[in-house]
């Protein structure tokens, strides 16, 4: 897949309020930031998958713009995201929600 195809597919999945990631069928590792070749083993035998849509706060920070952090997912990948909700601290479970951010439908993490 070309990188533009990966982005188009991600945008479609975001629009249906689901969280995509990429799984390498050669080494079995997962990653989120679109690359047409697996960054772990170099294989192009990859597949776009749908995550359970739940994760955990790996780290977080608060500044004027709100909360932001790294979310790790049980499928083995991680992503930067805005975080909403109460009691936002490392280790808390989050669910992934979607909204328009800067003209694009994008995922954000929500602490229930």
């Amino acid at each position: 897949m070309k990188v533009d195809d990966l982005y188009n597919e991600y945008d479609k999945i975001f629009a249906s309020n689901k969280m995509p990631f990429i799984k390498c069928k050669t080494c079995d590792k997962a990653y989120y930031y679109p690359r047409n070749v697996c960054p772990f083993c170099g294989s192009s035998n990859i597949e776009i998958m749908i995550s359970s849509g739940t994760g955990e706060i790996y780290s977080c920070t608060e500044f004027k713009g709100g909360f932001y952090g790294i979310i790790k997912f049980p499928e083995g990948f991680g992503a930067y995201m805005n975080i909403d909700g109460d009691n936002i601290v490392i280790g808390r479970n989050v669910i992934i929600k979607f909204r328009e951010i800067g003209g694009k439908i994008l995922p954000y993490a929500y602490v229930d």
Partner: protein, 383 residues
């Protein structure tokens, strides 16, 4: 060997970046006893915005040489941000040894105040140009409300607190102790009494990081002339060297508190322990703590406690960032590598006056680039 070194650093420089680099070069040539025609090698770097606000310049090393009136037969540009100058020193030494050139000018810095006036940094420069993106990950990175580079350092500081129990007070201790070094140096830009309360009561910019834990970007250049003869200076060379690079984003790294500094130092940890003083990259308080741990100076997770217990002054247990570091000297064009190297050379040549390390036999320098995580350059200087 370095035959001349100089700096031209201002909080906000009113003239052009070209005047600034010319000033640093002029001083370094004077120390080396060389003329422009003697320079046959040139190494530099370019960051968006730091050359009078330009996002880029055509063939910029050539344009700089043309402006400065130097005609090198070897030209290079390194793009690791902060530690680029340290890599340039290692490459220059090898080129000279191989007879490629005799006097190589390393000219690193810039004038970032044009970017600052527009409320952006080199990391957020793309916000001024909506049609431009500086990452292949486009909106998956740049539409979120990050505050880079501060927020990425904040994420690693928060993680360090959680995993190792380090505290805001421990990070503040480092800032207070580096300020003491700055006050003693007589040549720092930021001086005066600073207490733990001052640091802890300064505004939280991106939790847990306070304003006074963050380096202040300034305008300036450093010029280092690497030569086949040391001239009037001590004939010091790189004794041990390592560099390491990694390109995964923090969400893709298992442990973000483990930086490439672990890899870049792995072949000479024992030599590091024997050094007389240490200059560690200090873009933020947490940057220094990560390097203390990752280079093996302090066990993993123990940097906070170590800083509380030990003196880092020139006559202390572990002389560290002896001139006050870039936190107090200012960070020219978002890169601290030159500040570390300049201070190391002052000390090694016993030019630090009342703030002199006693018997400065060897110095360990560590530079970090690409936030805290992409590049590490580690070296020991001695004779």
């Amino acid at each position: 060997m370095i035959s001349g070194f100089a700096e031209a650093v201002y909080k906000n420089y009113n003239g052009s970046v070209y005047d600034l680099m010319d000033e640093a070069l002029g001083k370094a040539l004077e120390m080396a006893g060389l003329e422009r025609k003697d320079l046959d090698g040139f190494m530099t770097t370019f960051l968006p915005g730091v050359f009078d606000g330009n996002i880029y310049m055509h063939f910029f090393p050539d344009q700089i040489c043309g402006y400065l009136g130097i005609t090198p037969k070897y030209i290079d540009s390194l793009d690791y941000g902060g530690p680029s100058v340290l890599s340039a020193l290692w490459r220059a030494e090898r080129l000279i040894k191989d007879g490629v050139a005799e006097n190589i000018l390393l000219l690193f810095g810039g004038k970032g105040s044009d970017v600052r006036k527009r409320k952006q940094t080199v990391d957020s420069f793309e916000k001024l140009y909506p049609e431009i993106t500086n990452t292949p990950y486009r909106h998956l990175i740049n539409l979120y409300n990050s505050m880079n580079p501060v927020s990425d350092y904040a994420l690693v500081a928060e993680r360090h607190k959680k995993i190792y129990g380090s505290t805001d007070t421990q990070r503040a201790e480092l800032i207070v102790k580096q300020r003491k070094n700055a006050n003693r140096s007589g040549y720092a830009m930021f001086t005066g009494e600073l207490s733990l309360e001052d640091v802890l009561n300064s505004p939280v910019i991106s939790s847990p990081l306070h304003l006074l834990e963050i380096v202040y970007p300034v305008d300036g250049f450093h010029a280092f002339i690497v030569s086949n003869k040391p001239g009037k200076l001590r004939g010091i060379r790189i004794q041990n060297y390592g560099e390491a690079h990694q390109s995964f984003l923090p969400p893709e790294i298992d442990d973000i508190t483990l930086t490439p500094a672990a890899e870049s130092t792995k072949n000479f940890r024992r030599e590091i322990a024997k050094c007389d003083f240490y200059e560690l990259y200090d873009s933020f308080s947490i940057t220094v703590m990560l390097q203390l741990e990752n280079t093996g100076i302090v066990p993993k997770g123990q940097s906070g406690k170590f800083i509380e217990k030990n003196s880092i002054s020139v006559d202390g247990d572990l002389p560290l960032n002896t001139g006050g570091g870039s936190i107090n000297r200012g960070q020219p064009a978002y890169m601290s590598g030159s500040v570390l190297l300049y201070e190391a050379l002052l000390q090694m040549n016993e030019m630090a006056d009342g703030n002199q390390v006693k018997s400065p036999g060897k110095v360990f320098i560590n530079g970090i680039g690409g936030w805290y995580r992409n590049h590490s350059v580690s070296l020991i200087l001695g004779d």
